[in-house]
Symmetry: C2
Subunit: 217 residues, 2 copies
């Protein structure tokens, strides 16, 4: 024999792989899938296009990895928040604010993950991701409904609506960039929107019992 991967080499390869994923994510964050061509990724990493294919069998699979990586990371953060012991309202608010403010930093990324279509294979992965996001929010919602904090409602639909709500609200500033202060205000407003929708008229008489329960039910 005459060649076997040394640990050093092993590490370098793993490093390359990671840098490819990172570069891809960066490009997607910058300008959506459109910007993340293999050529662009290769250039950013400092490799040739051909080399990319030594690490990933296809562009689609690379995207899927970027997608699932980022989403599972994101879901981890959200789950931590939601596993806390504050009221459901507070947890929901915190989760939305957390997600939204991070999404604001790379709006195209959040957007791409949630909505942008490119390829059946990636789309399939995205559906799973959306479900994951939805599931996280659904968890707090059910807790809040059970405790009476939130109005009775279809938790799955509400979860989807919440994901959609901040997606849309965040897409807008993609085009007309705003100041950090404005961004903060936006995030707050979005979180309030989601909390209001979840709480509905079903909040147990507390601060604002001024209003009689909404019809619905």
């Amino acid at each position: 024999m005459a060649y076997r991967r040394s640990p050093l080499m092993q590490e370098r390869l793993a490093d390359n792989r990671e840098r490819i994923v990172l570069a891809t994510r960066k490009l997607i964050a910058r300008g959506g899938f459109r910007e993340a061509s293999i050529a662009a990724v290769a250039q950013l990493v400092g490799l040739s296009t051909g080399a990319i294919y030594r690490y990933f069998p296809s562009k689609a699979e690379l995207f899927v990895e970027v997608l699932t990586n980022a989403v599972s990371h994101e879901c981890g953060i959200l789950n931590d928040i939601i596993a806390g012991d504050a009221t459901a309202t507070e947890r929901l608010r915190a989760a939305v604010e957390s997600f939204a403010s991070r999404a604001l930093e790379g709006p195209h990324l959040a957007y791409a993950f949630i909505a942008e279509p490119i390829d059946p294979e990636v789309d399939a992965a995205r559906i799973v991701c959306r479900r994951q996001f939805g599931a996280v929010f659904e968890k707090v919602l059910r807790a809040g409904i059970k405790s009476g904090e939130f109005a009775p409602q279809a938790a799955d639909v509400t979860a989807a609506c919440i994901v959609g709500a901040f997606t849309e609200a965040l897409i807008r500033p993609v085009t007309s960039t705003s100041t950090p202060a404005e961004a903060r205000k936006l995030v707050r407003a979005i979180a309030e929107f989601c909390v209001r929708a979840a709480v509905g008229g079903g909040a147990p008489a507390a601060t604002g019992a001024a209003r009689s329960p909404r019809k619905k039910a």
Copy 2:
């Protein structure tokens, strides 16, 4: 001279043009922009690909026309609803339900119009469209806030969130088709979500105000 468009010819051309737009819309509704290639459009209309270019200088401009057409039609309907004299709550609910149920018929269409990116030129048109939708909802929101029916809130953000909420909620079924009955239920749930968010729990959208019980779980 030896040729001038006869009125009949004029009409036929106008008809062709309209059929091109219709066919494009149909294809987009069926499977997003992906399905609406020039070749597919041409085939559906019964013309050659080349002929399409006699009516539209480029695919992008064709898409922009389809987009603005559909959106202005949609906004017309919504504006009628919103101009009614029911309560702001009822008008908002009706508007959301109307939009959502129509969108459900061609989910890819609504989706494509609101989110799917393809081309800078089309994207630009879409931004305008989104603003239009937002503006319509903003109108009822402001009315409701003014009348005290709705909690004080950033009407523009809420409007965006509402658009986003049903976009997302509608995208889900794109993948897993459901029965008409389920669709009706979904539409109702989405509308309720939006109404709850607009109405609020009665407490003005104060940020961290501890709302109540700490049931935990």
